[in-house]
């Protein structure tokens, strides 16, 4: 293991045959859940991205198969209920899912079959990480990958609450949260994600974010020249951009792609919960507890005096005497 892996620029490259050292290290982490003042890395990895061009997707699910194979997950075999989604939803064992929508374009009256590969978007500003209460359960690397560190996960489901895209799923077996890792374990050794590698039409491609944006722009140009006037990139600014992003032929209406959020952002409710509530709440409770303790020790107590004990005795006796007379 003399050499460390290069940073991957494509998913197409084959792995080297000689052993190679990881190039995605704990020291490359820029954000850690429930942890303030993370020491910033000395190097900045090149930002990576996975581009999903929905206009090229044929819905073959090779990406799902590759994902299952690489991550060694075993999604349950479910009932066929007459839809193409298989499984029916993302699960703790299925990190990516082809979602199919039959959409009638009101302008052309054509039926369009929209297929979107769903999964973690690897937000630049990750809601899951913001919501997570367990230190070190969610990390973000300087190349943009957001990863769950399962040994620190407590299974509370706060990441589900924080995520603007409804991605994390909590396992009923080990009570830990699962989602796409952007194949961080492959990227660490210079490889692209398994789904991108398996995609037969290159609807999924991987590389530096810069390269992917350039490629996406070409794709948008091409689509526009073919009559998709509203073709565009879905790289939502509300979450600071994402490291998994789409080329959509109808980028003006993301929600037609099975509910892709039009303007995703971390919910203000979550921001309020993890912001002012957390800070002010702790302060108020602390002041109240300390204040009560100090006041309790130093202030004059409310004491019963001997006179009152006698009065009580008189009161009880007189009631008795009243009866006896």
């Amino acid at each position: 293991m003399s050499e460390t892996a290069p940073q991957p620029k494509t998913a197409a490259a084959n792995p080297p045959v000689q052993p190679i050292g990881s190039n995605l290290l704990p020291s490359d982490v820029v954000r850690i859940s429930a942890t303030k003042d993370v020491p910033q890395p000395t190097r900045q990895l090149e930002k990576v991205a996975k581009l999903i061009d929905v206009s090229k997707c044929i819905g073959c699910k090779a990406c799902q198969s590759a994902c299952i194979e690489w991550n060694d997950t075993k999604p349950e075999v479910e009932e066929n209920v007459g839809v193409y989604e298989n499984p029916h939803d993302l699960t703790p064992n299925m990190f990516t899912l082809m979602r199919f929508t039959e959409w009638v374009n009101p302008e052309t009256d054509n039926l369009e079959w929209l297929i979107r590969k769903d999964g973690c978007m690897h937000c630049e500003d990750p809601g899951c990480l913001k919501a997570c209460p367990a230190p070190g359960a969610i990390v973000q690397y300087s190349n943009g990958i957001v990863d769950f560190i399962h040994e620190n996960c407590i299974g509370c489901g706060y990441c589900v609450t924080g995520c603007p895209f409804d991605i994390p799923r909590i396992s009923k077996v080990d009570h830990k949260s699962y989602k796409c890792t952007l194949c961080s374990d492959r990227v660490a050794v210079g490889q692209g994600p398994a789904c991108a590698k398996a995609c037969p039409t290159q609807a999924i491609v991987f590389g530096t974010k810069e390269d992917m944006i350039a490629h996406a722009n070409e794709r948008v140009e091409d689509l526009k020249s073919r009559g998709y006037a509203n073709a565009g990139i879905y790289d939502p600014a509300g979450v600071g951009g994402t490291h998994v992003f789409y080329v959509l032929h109808h980028a003006d209406k993301p929600s037609i792609y099975d509910g892709l959020p039009d303007e995703p952002r971390i919910s203000p409710v979550v921001e309020g919960w993890k912001g002012v509530t957390k800070t002010a709440g702790l302060a108020v409770m602390g002041v109240a507890a300390v204040g009560a303790a100090i006041h309790g020790i130093f202030a004059r107590a409310n004491k019963v005096d001997a006179h009152e004990e006698q009065e009580a005795e008189k009161l009880v006796r007189s009631a008795n005497d009243g009866e006896n007379v």
């Binding site: 407590i154 957390k278 709440g281 004990e309």
Partner: protein
Amino acid sequence: MARPIYAEPGDRIESVKPVTVSRYRGFIRANHWITALSLILLLVSGLAFFHPSLYFLTGLFGGGQNARWLHPIIGVVLFVSFMVMFIQLWRLNLPTPDDKAWLSQIGDVVKGNEENLPELGKYNAGQKFIFWGMTLLIVVLIVTGVMIWEQFFGELVTIPTRRIAVLTHALAAVAIILVFILHVYAAFWTRGTLRAMTRGTVTGGWAYRHHRKWLRELAGRRTRGPAE
């Protein structure tokens, strides 16, 4: 015998010289301490999830995973236990005209000038505030708590609802901790109160000073007892 107005049927004067008054039977005392223990465990585990600087408190439960599954179960225990207590306590915690007078003289309350205050039944307005505050907050906490109980109710509500539930749960938790601090503080500050929940009795002087109507009623009732 007619139902007493200011006292519970079980309250009675236990001895005359010195006067001791039975305020809480063994059942409600056990009931109270189960509730209290649950509240403290919930407070400790909940604070660990609330603020990263307190996450170390999960260590008391054997780690984050254990704290995560225990917290809601203890919550159910507290809810049931509190409801049993509620049934026993709600009647004498209903507001009365005396409460208004008591509240308007809150300055005398704080200064401990109780001779200026009206004579009171078994509870003053402050105690009633704690009772109803706890009741309301516990209901809010159990309802929102179930909504965010990932292990068994992960699918119960939509994610936007869940966000509101988790925020409400946190706010209600802060509020109940403040009520809890007030409750504990008042019990210590008003000397002679704690024994009502430990031994079950208070001194005659305590009853005379803080809850004279309650004492008068018990004294009056005592004389009509059959076995005097």
